[in-house]
Structure formats: C-alpha cells, structure tokens
Symmetry: D2
Subunit: 157 residues, 4 copies
Amino acid sequence: MSARIQENSKLQASPEAERRVRESFARQGLMSTLGATITGVGPGAVEIALPVSDGILQQHGFVHAGAVSSIADTAAGFAALTLMPADAGVLTTEFKINLLAPAVGDWIVARGRVVKAGRTLTLAQTDVFAEKAGQERLVAYLTATLMTVSGRDGIAD
Amino acid sequence: MSARIQENSKLQASPEAERRVRESFARQGLMSTLGATITGVGPGAVEIALPVSDGILQQHGFVHAGAVSSIADTAAGFAALTLMPADAGVLTTEFKINLLAPAVGDWIVARGRVVKAGRTLTLAQTDVFAEKAGQERLVAYLTATLMTVSGRDGIAD
Amino acid sequence: MSARIQENSKLQASPEAERRVRESFARQGLMSTLGATITGVGPGAVEIALPVSDGILQQHGFVHAGAVSSIADTAAGFAALTLMPADAGVLTTEFKINLLAPAVGDWIVARGRVVKAGRTLTLAQTDVFAEKAGQERLVAYLTATLMTVSGRDGIAD
Amino acid sequence: MSARIQENSKLQASPEAERRVRESFARQGLMSTLGATITGVGPGAVEIALPVSDGILQQHGFVHAGAVSSIADTAAGFAALTLMPADAGVLTTEFKINLLAPAVGDWIVARGRVVKAGRTLTLAQTDVFAEKAGQERLVAYLTATLMTVSGRDGIAD
C-alpha cells in the first residue's frame, strides 16, 4: 500500500461544497468501516480512495465487487450533491456497475462525475481504478441515478 | 436487532453445494468485516443476513446502498455457484440494483436465485428485505450476471 | 407464425385500466411500426406480443435486442400505468435488459409486472419469451424505473 | 427534419472495419424498418442517425425509449465489432439505458464507443443526442456488454 493518500489537486470545489461533502461523508459509518477517504471534491465531481486490505476482499483475493460498488456509488452520490440546492439531501435510486478486471493493487480509486443534473433526478458516472506501484488500471464502470430530496425529515446533507 | 439469526429451512442444497458455498463465503474478508452470515443454501438459491449496526450506515442513518449491494451481489453469486461445475469459480461481471425504500430495521436479508444458468453467463436476481420486529419490507432489487470461470489460476470455489 | 394472437385470459384489469392502457398503446407509433399488439391487461401487469418478421431482425437472423427492448419497456411502463392516478402520465427513466438466449421463433411475448409502486418512482420487471410451435423460452429479462408524471402539459395517459 | 444526414468526419476506421460494420448493419432489418443510417465508423466508435417520424414515437409525441435504445445498442455493438477478430461475431448480453430528457427534435443521433475491450466481453457506452435546428441535446446514456462470439454457426459479422 502507498504510504499516504494523495489529494487530487485538479478537483477544486467551492469551500461550501467541499465542506458539505466532507461532513456528510464523515457521517457514513460504512466508509469508515471500509477505510475509505475523500481525496478530492470539485464542481460535479468527487474522488474517493480505499486502501486494499484483507477485510475488503472476496474469496479469490480480489477486492469484493461490493466494496468497489460502495465507493463508486458514494463518489457518484457526492458528485451529484455538489450541484444540489443547499437544503436538499441526496439518495441513490439505482446503479449499474460493470466489473471490467480483477480489482488488485494497493489502492482502489473511484472518480465520480455528473453526466446530467436534473431537478429531481441526476445521472452520474464513476470510473474505478486499481492502483499498483503508481500505475492505474480501469477495473469498474458505474452509472447511478441520484434523487434530490427536499423537505423530508432526516434527509439533508 | 434480533437475538439470533434464523436459518431459512426452505433452502435445502446438497451437502456438497452447501459446503462449497459456505467455505467460499468464509474466505470473503468483506462479509466478515460487514458482519454478514449465510442463512440458507438451496439449489440455485442463497440467503444472506446482515445485522444493522452503525458501521454499515450512510449519512441519514439508513443502511448504505453499498452494504445492501454487497450482500445482494454475494447472494446472487453464490446462488449461481451452486449450479456450476465442481472445478469452476464464479465472478460477477455486472449488476444493477434498484433501491426501493430506505433500508431501516434490525436485519437486512438478501435472497438470491438463479433466473437462467448458461454455460458461460448466468443471470441471478436478488430481493433484499429490511426486517424490523419480525416484519419484512422489500428495500432493493438486484439483477446480476455471473461468469463461470474454469482453468484460471486462483479462481476456484 | 401462429395464425392469430391469443389473449392472456389470466389478466383481468378494471374496464377503466384496460381502456386507458389500450388507448395509450394505440397512440404509440413505434408499436404499430413493429407490429406489436396488447394481449392482456391486469392490475399491475401487461402483456404484449410481437410477430417475428424480417423487419425486426438483427444481422444473424435473431430478433434485434432493440425490438425485444421496445416491447419489454412498453409492457413495464403500461403495467406501472395501471396503478397510477387517473390524471398522471408515465415515463421511463431507465431500464436494464439482459439478453439470455437468441430470440428466435414465431412470436416474441413480453410480460411486465410491477415489483413496487411508489409515489414518484415505480419498479417493474418484464420477462420476454420467444414462442415457437406453442413452446415458450425465456430470452430476456428487463427491470425498469417508471416515473409518475403529474401536471405536465402533454404528458397524460 | 434536416434535408440530409451529415457524415461524422472525425470517425476514420480502416477500410476493412468500415466495410465490415456497414455490411452487417445493412443486414439488420430493424434498422431499415426504423429508417436509421450509419453516419460514421472509427476504431472502437460508431455513429448512427435516425430521422424523427411518427412511426418511432410513443404516446406523448417523444421518440420511444425502444427506438432510442435500438440505435444506441446498435452503435455500441458495432463500436465493439470494430475491435474484434475478423472471424468473430458480436452479440449484446445486456445493456442499461438512462433516459435523461424527452427525445424531441429532427434527428436522434447515437454515438457509441468502446470503454474496455476484453477477450470475451467488451464494455461500450453510447451517448444519444436529439438534434433540432442544428442544436444537440443529450437525451440518453447507455452502457452495454458485448460478447465476442467465435466458431458458432450463423454468428459472424
């Protein structure tokens, strides 16, 4: 595993969007359980990195499709959140993920971006890479529909 | 949370299929990290249960779509494995999941079953329920394509 | 090709739902272009049949995935419509289809049913069969998200 | 409707790939029934255009999701075919399409490209635009899995 996580300096959101995404991410118990970290927030874009460890693998020693999906969905959802009204929350309504190659390496990195932001529904797409010794390989491709939720108790970000 | 996990007595696989699935499941670090358990293995069918705890939630207090997907994909994959040749391993090539309602409750239960088993590709479908005080509610619906992998080093189940 | 299309007598919707679906279907130019017919309307369920002819094939002589999808999506959408308020219209927001076997035969039959009806979004699932000499074979499996649209000019069913 | 279809001059495949795709496309009865045309073939990329007419609409006057899917799937499949061995044929095993906006305009244009070509499975992605008075608007986003089929009677392209 790399000694440390590098921030993606190309992603530069407003301070408000940056804070909003990082605070909501910090409330996700699953991200903490998996050991994932946000490494970049931009307008309509979010990057999340996950160090590879035994606790996220499947039976053949690859990173489990569920762990790959977890950070890919989260990157898509927060990418969408950066473009939503301040009083709204975000929920995933569906996603599809194609697993393109065994997820093997030091880090798994998910880069989500908004394809089209709508009033109610937003489409986002996430590329997931496995990084090994500084080389990245595309291992998964996710598309997700995110819903803008307003005025519902307990759903705000 | 319920005091204990109940086995699904309707699922009755052959002893070989039962052992094959449970041994492969036991090698999945992610299932152990999440706290998931197999509660039933049948011919072309597998059930997995996950107790709800803070470590699998998202920011609004619902079970994270990634955790729901993790057990739903695993149930689909092992359901497919029960019908595969003894020397083969199983890999997910893609899945779609629709999140139908907030996943809130004591347990999350995923019931996967094979829709059509092919030589190379198998389609499986998983219903995911949230159980609270003995009542079940459908919260997610997954379809997955599983590949039968033969003769590849390190991929056997 | 069979001499005639048989109605599915198991599907029995209310006269209002039946009329609503059949009138909306009759306004779909694509269904007429393909030659598709409604063969059943039930509560939360619709069946559509399509006779196989050269004009709906792909390059290997199978029914084109696009034609299969067209009737599968339509069956899902109208199944959802049977459960929607009288002043609402239905729009598909996404669907996934798995093609399970070459679509070869006399008729292609799509059977859609609602999995979960929500206020805004409904999930429906369609099985598609190829019928040849009275035998049916499952050739495709679709899941679709349908949106209930109210108060938008021009979108009513 | 525009007076004529413009070729996409940015797509430049080898003469062999160009011929292979156009000949296979010409054998698709459905494309002819819908009125679709190939407007570009590149390495790992194909563009298809469809003039809007009553015969491809749904009940609200938008282009039917089935017609949109038909050309989007075809563009994805032929994009994949350009990278396949000469003796292989292509089959779609699954696709998901997100409908992002009503498909209204003079032409519907689908631009497919390969995301990752594998030995057995290839992932392709298609953007679909509605063109009106020279302006394009993204109306749909498809991802498809294509299978390379070798040595099966009747499946060659």
